[in-house]
Symmetry: none
Subunit: 204 residues, 4 copies
DNA sequence: CATGAATGAGTCTTCATTCAT
DNA sequence: CATGAATGAAGACTCATTCAT
């Protein structure tokens, strides 16, 4: 029993440390960029010995890749409950889009890392991240296709171009928001974005 | 006479070397990222001794900053002749937007550096680059405003959101195009983008 | 117990390496000058990897500054036991002066670095070194003042000029001794110096 | 004739440039130290193309060595007229000593280079400088010996130790004067130094 | 003599990563 | 699992010096 308890405690502690490291990494990567952040710094901020990072992550690359993965997971968990299964595809698109803005607003560090570091970086070609991004993008494409089939969006709308506009717009808006000091309400601007795009997508 | 010729030859040679370095840098920065590219590599690709880089650029930062500046210059020179002064603002917007896609298509290296490295990076906060980018973005904003005033675009269109969609869409489309091996016609996709956005912008 | 022993061993090893580096630096700085000595050379002589130097010293400057500091400490520890507290100020002056010569004789490397590199260099303006030097010089001044008050040294003796003569004489004598191959007995010459100066200082 | 005139003009110009370079070097060496000064900087201050330095000096070492030599020459020319041939050796010693202080006061740059850079540096072992310094020092020794023979200075005075005190005192005083911002009258302090030393040298 | 341009050899410094304990 | 210490490999940058003209 004792050893079982100890084990659990240890596992808990392990998870905590892992989180500490990931969170420190996210913060620092966002602030100074991935290449501008040394593992020594990550360790310092995470209050963990440098070499302990290697107990949780294979190497720096693995750590970098885990940052978006964990956040994508969290984003999904936030989005899922809000989606009314079988509901209007456009409404679902709207929810997904805006929830993402909300998530960025709540986790600007991650926004910074993802939109200014990971996504643009060649790492997006990195299978693990690419898969997550593709999966996310694919969802947009599918909902757009559904909306076309449902007759809400026009027949000749290119679902991929449409998705590019949604993701690109989000990326640009977020980048500007971050670079200029988060002076306005990101989610509100996100709504404007969605409306404008929606106007361009609908059947007349 | 002779010395004049010599001088010209020398100046020509200098310009050439500078171009070689700049071009090597653009290429490598796009391929491996700015931080992932060492000046040693730049020198090797440019077929110039490492220390010669310092004859033309103050330091690495200066080299990095010169990449977008030079290309912005070139982009302007390509765009300007195409613009019919006093013409329809929407048509001008279209030309500027598509010329940019054409330029990227012709200079994918630069597209890579700019859209995947410089623009998203904190460097966009770098005065010199920021100025160039702002100037470019402002042009979009102004034309959109003109189109609103002319009644072509709807009154309640947020010109900045609209610009974000145009630039973000371009960025995303380019990134995907680059990351997935330039398999399709970028300019054509750019046209689709413009049409879709235009549809969302117009007055009904 | 075991871990205690291990810790001590580790600490011992660390101290040793630090000493090795410091000693190599002292030697090389004296031989080739500070600027003429590369950290690569220091590492080689200390038989330590170059990057390990940075485990013990912040940077080259810190290493340079640690050379005089450590030796001043050692010099103090040699001098202190010899001073009879409350004794004759002139006798104390004599002891301090001659102990320094003895220390130089025993550690010519340090003499070289200190008198030919650090003291004359602008580094003497470096707060850390300046403080140590000032403290040392001040001692001379105070003892001279005491001797004046005691009536041993003449009323109109400028204590600072007197100190300059003592320190300058030591510096010059040491430099010559070093540059000309340590051919004579430094301490003996030091005694001559002291006597001559003393003659110039006393009340008649 | 014409060519002769041209030649002379050229020679004059050459001498000027040489002086410019030497003067710039003296200034910069004094300010930043010899190793801290690059030839590029010397060229910039001397307003001469970098490569022209090599038309006048074999290499940096040669330039460094020429700095004290030229100044020793100038110092001699200042001192010589003041010396009454065949006069009292002590008086001559005094004149030489004080003229040197005056020269330093008038040319603090040189003082800095010589006392803080060249003299203490290993360069003093450099034959050319060593010779000049030795010659200068020898003069002191000879005058001191004369004073001993004349019965002014005591029989058992070690002329070399006496000289060390004079030169060392001058060096130390100058260094302090320079490092602490030349706050007091150097020549006046020099007089105090001489008097004190003289007191220690004389026969009783 | 004059000089702009070029360059090779080095310097300090950083950092991801390993390993013994 | 934990961790302090160690290190190899590399990077940005400098500078004395050369050379073609």
């Amino acid at each position: 029993m004792a050893s079982g308890t100890t084990l659990k405690l240890k596992q808990q502690r392990s998870r905590d440390r892992r989180e500490q490291i990931l969170s420190a990494a996210t913060k620092l990567f966002g602030q100074r960029g991935i290449d501008g952040t040394s593992l020594t710094e990550v360790a310092a901020v995470a209050k963990v010995p440098l070499s302990s990072i290697y107990d949780y992550f294979e190497d720096k690359r693995a750590l970098v890749l885990d940052v978006p993965e964990g956040n994508f997971e969290a984003l999904y968990q936030k989005t899922e409950p809000l989606l009314v299964k079988g509901g209007d595809p456009v409404e679902q698109l709207r929810i997904i889009f805006l929830t993402n803005f909300q998530y960025i607003k709540d986790n600007p560090s991650w926004g910074r890392v993802f939109f200014l570091e990971i996504w643009p970086s060649v790492l997006a070609a990195e299978p693990r991240v690419k898969k997550a991004v593709d999966k996310y993008a694919l969802r947009y494409v599918q909902l757009i296709k559904q909306a076309i089939r449902a007759g809400t969006y026009r027949r000749n709308l290119d679902p991929y171009a449409a998705m590019s506009l949604m993701m690109g717009g989000m990326c640009h808006l977020t980048a500007v928001w971050l670079l200029y000091g988060r002076k306005y309400d990101l989610v509100k601007k996100g709504k404007t974005l969605f409306t404008t795009l929606h106007n361009g997508f609908v059947q007349r």
